[in-house]
């Protein structure tokens, strides 16, 4: 089955996969789009078992070693494939129970990033866990894949962390820039948020330009039939967003992501990464 315009849920074998599936199912239902569950199996030739420290090499050592390593890899791949299949099957049933009609599953070898880039043309929304398998054992609060993956993609990406809660109201973090302006138009034209009350937040001083920008956003959304509440608040972006989210019980945040180069992010820290770390609510990233 080849799905176009699908919602692609990227799952790995951690308990976050359930939340990713739930949100993806919600998005697929709202947009009436097909859902695909993707599990990518990474191979690690740079890792070894290293049980044999005898250091002795006998007759045909090369061939013997090659055969041994190949059969190890073979077993590992087969086990991973079977385990992944069952895991996807369970998630598929979960999504079907949520009411999604068209569901497909796919397993791919290779790094997540490459896999997603390859899939991008037929995708309209990615759903990604902000933390993954490694978070089960480490204290990392932002999965190490996330920034790389987000930077590599150009379609919207819904990143989720906590348990699924059906979004009731959402907020657009609006900066008047090209990415978020585009985002406002996208929200206005999409079925994903149809009928939900929307808050549009701009941080900064109430200067003439900002007011004009905000009016524009309000106008576009209102014309599409949304119930819009604009906010123009001074202060640090991150704190303003956090405050408004709690004050109004926002369930989902929409913002632009990683507009600056990765070098700058590495030197000064990335605003997007900080926000994704501090905010616990599902966030739709626009590229």
């Amino acid at each position: 089955m080849i799905f176009d315009n699908k919602v692609l849920a990227c799952v790995d074998q951690s308990h976050f996969a359930d939340h990713v599936t739930d949100y993806a199912a919600w998005a697929a239902l709202r947009m009436d789009a097909p859902l695909e569950l993707l599990h990518s199996i990474e191979r690690h030739p740079e890792l070894s078992d290293g049980a044999d420290h005898s250091g002795a090499i006998g007759m045909n050592s090369q061939e013997v070693l090659l055969t041994e390593l190949v059969s190890q890899d073979e077993q590992r791949s087969k086990a991973a494939r079977e385990q992944g299949r069952l895991f996807l099957l369970r998630l598929r049933e979960r999504a079907a129970a949520a009411g999604v009609a068209l569901i497909d599953t796919r397993q791919r070898h290779g790094r997540l990033q490459e896999t997603l880039i390859a899939q991008e043309p037929s995708v309209q929304l990615f759903v990604l866990g902000r933390r993954g398998e490694s978070a089960e054992v480490t204290q990392r609060d932002l999965g190490r894949n996330v920034e790389q993956v987000v930077r590599a993609l150009h379609k919207p990406i819904l990143t989720v962390t906590e348990d699924f809660k059906k979004p009731e109201r959402f907020m657009i973090a609006f900066d008047g820039g090209i990415v978020t302006r585009h985002g406002v138009q996208m929200v206005a034209g999409s079925r994903l948020f149809k009928g939900l009350p929307v808050h549009v937040l701009m941080s900064g001083k109430p200067s003439g330009d900002a007011v004009k920008q905000l009016d524009w956003a309000q106008g576009v959304l209102a014309a599409a039939g949304y119930d819009v509440t604009p906010h123009l608040l001074p202060g640090d972006t991150e704190r303003v967003i956090a405050k408004t989210v709690t004050a109004h019980g926002i369930d989902m945040l929409i913002m632009g992501a990683y507009a600056h180069s990765s070098l700058r992010g590495w030197l000064f820290g990335s605003k997007t990464s900080e926000l994704l770390r501090s905010a616990k609510l599902p966030t739709l990233l626009l590229r």
Partner: protein, 491 residues
């Protein structure tokens, strides 16, 4: 950033352990190869340290072990005997420079002309040379030595059945050293073979006159060393590629070998290259990243410098046992069985490579012979793909020849002989549109045919020459266009 983490930090524990195992096996080898070359063990040990550590950083194949090798040591014997250590150091530096040049010229890609049989021949010859180099330690010695070597081999091969937690070559060395000291045996030890390192290596400029005469002495040796070093390194790299199911950067490896050798030369070490046996040991012990190579070099130096007194007491018999293991492990025993199964030409290429190397002690010559022979055999085989048929037309006035197949230097003779020049006929038509003319020899063969027919008073018409000679252009850019290849081969 990502590949740095992947190359260095993804497999830390196993890399360090494998590095230790490799270092323990490198010590006897470095000592043995110094003795082959005719220099103090410290030259080989410094070389092993320098080459292993430097290539960990600049090499193109993570997890591959480079150090002082037998293949290189054998090429230095005459130079050391005639001119001494300082000339060897200068040669080592020059070898590195040449290898960097080869890397810059991307000569690593020439490896595709080295066929499987040549590689097998190279590996087998290497194993034989390593074994032969042990013979001086096994002739004119007391029975104690034979007993020690036999016991050593016994420990090396049987201990892994009991435990794989400790390197069996190390146990061999420790046990044999202990036994010989306890019994007070009068047999040769490493200390008898020359000076061991007593300090960390330091920078020295080789004391050779910077004259043209010096260059004449060292250049030929350096060129051979550079070639053999790169050949063995490229082969080892592709072996490691296969074992770990990953890829390597061959040109970076060429340059890396060069930098490692230059460093080695300036720090008092001999030239070296990648080692097949050691790299297999490294992978087998779980080494995958650059850290394994680095730790092998560092552990080696630490052990040698700080327990040098003990190293001096290791009996040569223990080293011989380890080297016999390396030789057995390097040799491709299946290739012997394959001699009967594989085509004769393939086997002949392999055997010719081995024989040339064993006779000349020069792996470069062996590879040259192997590559030439496989080229001949290939040309011969492809030359057989040529069919020429004919029939008379126009009520016996015309004979029409149809040429199908490959015409080039190896098949031109057969091409000419397929025409019947004595036939009394008015006209001959040669249709070459389904043949391929690969070179000038093919075209001149056709000219010759035309001339011969004309001498008999026969009129000749050639059709399809344009299609046939399309293959003559040196670079027909069809490799990326399947349609073009289809068209070229099917007309």
């Amino acid at each position: 950033m990502n590949s740095f983490r992947q190359d260095w930090l993804s497999n830390i524990k196993n890399d360090l352990l494998a590095g230790l195992v490799v270092a323990l096996a490198l010590i006897p080898e470095a000592i043995a190869f110094s003795i082959i070359a005719g220099v103090d063990p410290k030259v080989g040990l410094y070389a092993a340290f320098c080459i292993a550590t430097v290539s960990a950083f600049v090499g193109g194949r993570p997890g591959m072990i480079s150090a002082a090798t037998g293949a290189m040591a054998l090429l230095m014997v005459t130079l050391v005997k005639d001119h001494g250590l300082q000339y060897l150091l200068a040669t080592t530096v020059l070898t590195g420079v040449l290898q960097i040049g080869a890397g810059a010229l991307r000569l690593g890609e020439l490896m595709r002309f080295v066929s499987r049989s040549v590689i097998t021949g190279f590996v087998n010859a290497l194993a034989i040379l390593i074994f032969l180099a042990q013979l001086p330690e096994l002739t004119n010695v007391s029975w104690h030595v034979y007993a020690m070597v036999a016991a050593g081999l016994g420990i090396i091969y049987l201990l892994p059945y009991v435990t794989k937690a400790v390197p069996s070559p190390l146990v061999t060395i420790v046990v044999l050293t202990g036994v010989s000291m306890w019994l007070g045996l009068d047999i040769r030890t490493v200390g008898d073979m020359g000076q061991l390192p007593d300090s960390l290596p330091f920078f020295l400029w080789p004391e050779v006159p910077l004259t043209l005469e010096t260059l004449q002495i060292i250049f030929p040796v350096a060129a051979t060393l550079a070639t053999v070093g790169l050949l063995e390194s490229m082969m080892t790299a592709s072996i490691v590629d296969d074992l770990t199911d990953s890829t390597s950067n061959k040109n970076r490896e060429c340059v890396g070998q060069g930098i490692a050798n230059i460093t080695s030369g300036f720090l008092g070490g001999m030239a070296g290259c990648a080692m097949i046996g050691q790299s297999v040991i490294n992978i087998k012990s779980g080494g995958r990243g650059r850290l394994s190579t680095l730790s092998a070099g560092v552990f080696l130096l630490l052990m040698v410098v700080f327990i040098g007194d003990w190293v001096a007491r290791i009996p040569m018999a223990a080293l011989v046992a380890v080297m016999i293991m390396v030789s057995i492990g390097t040799f491709s025993w299946t290739s012997l069985r394959n001699l009967r199964v594989h085509p004769k030409s393939t086997s002949l290429v392999m055997i010719a490579t081995v024989v040339t190397v064993v006779a000349t002690h020069d792996l470069a010559k062996g590879v040259l012979v192997g590559v030439l022979l496989s080229g001949f055999f290939f040309a011969h085989k492809v030359g057989l793909i040529l069919y020429i048929g004919s029939q008379t037309e126009e009520e016996g006035r015309l004979r029409s020849y149809r040429v199908v197949g490959q015409v080039f230097f190896a098949s031109a003779e057969r091409f000419i002989n397929s025409f019947d020049f004595k036939e009394v006929i008015e006209k001959v038509r040669i249709d070459v549109s389904r043949a391929h003319f690969w070179d000038i020899t093919a075209v001149s063969a056709l000219d010759k045919v035309v001339v011969k027919f004309r001498r008999e008073g026969t009129e000749v018409e050639v059709i399809g020459l344009n299609e046939a000679s399309a293959t003559m252009v040196d670079r027909f850019a069809v490799h990326d266009k399947p349609d073009a290849i289809e068209q070229l081969m099917s007309h």
